[in-house]
Subunit: 323 residues, 2 copies
């Protein structure tokens, strides 16, 4: 199981390529929640998401043979961009499999970061299975979404939170595969077990939360619009860590996540993707429990497309009125 020591060891590998992200308090959000509310701006990172920290930590530790053979992964989202970014930073080739018909904007983003993007299969699972085989045939490293070295790198943001705000009472973190929540919980509990670490997933993709609550693997429908929260089956290693360390784990409706995207836009002038806004949606639900506390919302990523934003804004009138 990853430890604080692993996270501390990851720091120089991560900070070779990026700077700590800001933790800002917002008066408008604090008033809304009735607490002192800070936002951890992981959307300010390269590729706009926290995952790049994990990619940088992993790629820095490749063997010479692995460097030569390159990295292989399957992703249509932030994981793929993060691996592409980290691979390029280290001069390693990255091959990323996506299903036929994958979002052209995201494919272009990964290609813009120098990755080779290959289309294969009708859905994500087919693309992944295929690229696992390809990696094996070429002697390269396949990188799954919850590898320990990724969690170690991601944990650097949790350390930054506690260094910037030692008096933090609660950290709310969105859960997709669980690397962010695991990393945050491991760091927070090692430093101060009194810090509440609360996970949040979409009620429209509840497999990870239901597995956590049931204490065993549960699969569930996946219909969320928040790509970063869209998981159908639990990962064994992150489940084990979350069961040990998470204080709570909520589900919020996609509609509440979309409201939170607009509230973040209004109060912070930052663009959040659905996963990035989920922590605010959870905080709104937990108002009473959080009252008067020092609360950190992890804005895990900002990769919302202009089209998604246009639709959201068109749907709503003045956001201020809704809050």
């Amino acid at each position: 199981m990853p430890t604080l020591r692993d996270v501390i060891a990851a720091r120089p590998r991560v900070y070779r390529y990026l700077r700590p992200t800001p933790l800002y308090q917002y008066a408008g959000l604090s008033e809304l929640i009735g607490a002192r509310v800070w936002v951890k701006h992981e959307n300010h990172l390269p590729v706009g998401a926290f995952k790049v920290r994990g990619g940088l930590n992993l790629v820095a530790q490749l063997s010479e043979q692995e460097r030569r053979a390159g990295l292989f992964t399957a992703s249509t989202g932030n994981h793929g961009q993060s691996i592409a970014y980290a691979a390029r930073a280290h001069g390693v080739r990255a091959t990323i499999a996506v299903p036929e018909g994958a979002n052209p904007g995201k494919v272009a983003a990964m290609r813009g970061l120098g990755a080779e993007v290959m289309f294969h299969g009708a859905d994500f699972d087919h693309a992944r299975e295929w690229v696992v085989g390809l990696a094996s045939a070429k002697g390269g490293r396949f990188v799954g979404p919850t590898e320990e070295q990724l969690i170690h790198g991601v944990g650097t943001y949790a350390l930054e939170i506690i260094e910037d705000l030692p008096e933090v009472d609660a950290i709310i973190v969105p859960v997709g595969a669980g690397s962010g929540a695991c990393a945050t919980a491991i760091v927070a509990k090692a430093i101060n077990p009194g810090i509440q670490v609360i996970g949040v997933q979409s009620a429209q993709a509840p497999a990870i939360q239901m597995s956590w609550a049931a204490g065993k693997a549960v699969t569930a429908d996946m219909r969320t619009v928040a790509e970063g929260l869209a998981t159908r089956v639990p990962f064994e290693n992150t489940q084990r860590i979350m069961r040990k360390y998470l204080d709570d784990f909520l589900l919020v409706e996609d509609a509440a996540i979309e409201d939170a995207i607009l509230l973040l836009l209004e109060h912070t002038h930052n663009l959040a993707e659905g996963a990035g806004a989920a922590a605010l949606a959870a905080a709104i639900r937990l108002r009473q429990r959080l009252a008067g506390k020092n609360v950190v919302l992890v804005l895990s990523g900002g990769n919302l497309s202009a089209d998604q934003l246009r639709r959201l804004l068109a749907r709503t009138g003045a956001v201020a009125a809704a809050s």
Copy 2:
């Protein structure tokens, strides 16, 4: 006239409260311009704009008497928020005058930062004159928008650019009162006179550009939607610096600035206010001259309201198609 030495001296005062902002290269923008294009993310700062650097440098140097009497300024925008932020960081009171009917969202933002906001007069000039008198009566310091200590602080972003990208060929910077352009030019020319520093203002508020081009003070209409570029009369000190150091100074139409806001949203997932997007609008105009070069666009601020963004997005179809 401010010098590189002043900017270097400002750094510890600025970095006591904030971290350097990222300079990211974007493949999509690079392709669009036909150059290697980086964005300097001043929108990632507290209060979402570069000006906070100047405020922090100025407030750190107040005399005991000035600290006790407090700061006074007039602003409906980023200048006011920056002074409010810096004053609170240093435990100094800030009084900010705004005209009757000032934007409630911006007033709330300044109050959220702890400033006392006072409404006075029918327009900005009346509010300013009144608060200058109030400052004088109370023995406090009135802070205008182009004071040298502000320029010294703002220059820290230009130093960051050159440290992160020593091979930069051109920096494009939006001009409102001129503090950002002056600070950038002073730093760049002192380190490498070969770096082109190019200012940009809105054609719908061209007074500063026209004064620069004419070599004498010119006033002009001010109808731009970009509040950060909205100046009607030139400031003597920034004109002197810009005449000495700026390589070029363009006007771009508000419509081109609005397109640039959408392009930044699409390619970087960052929200830019009009002033913050003006550098991209200028780069699009200068494509031929910038071809193949290392170009930095200063995204000076991100304070666009959700309503402004909603209107912009509603007006347009798919942004990608327009690019």
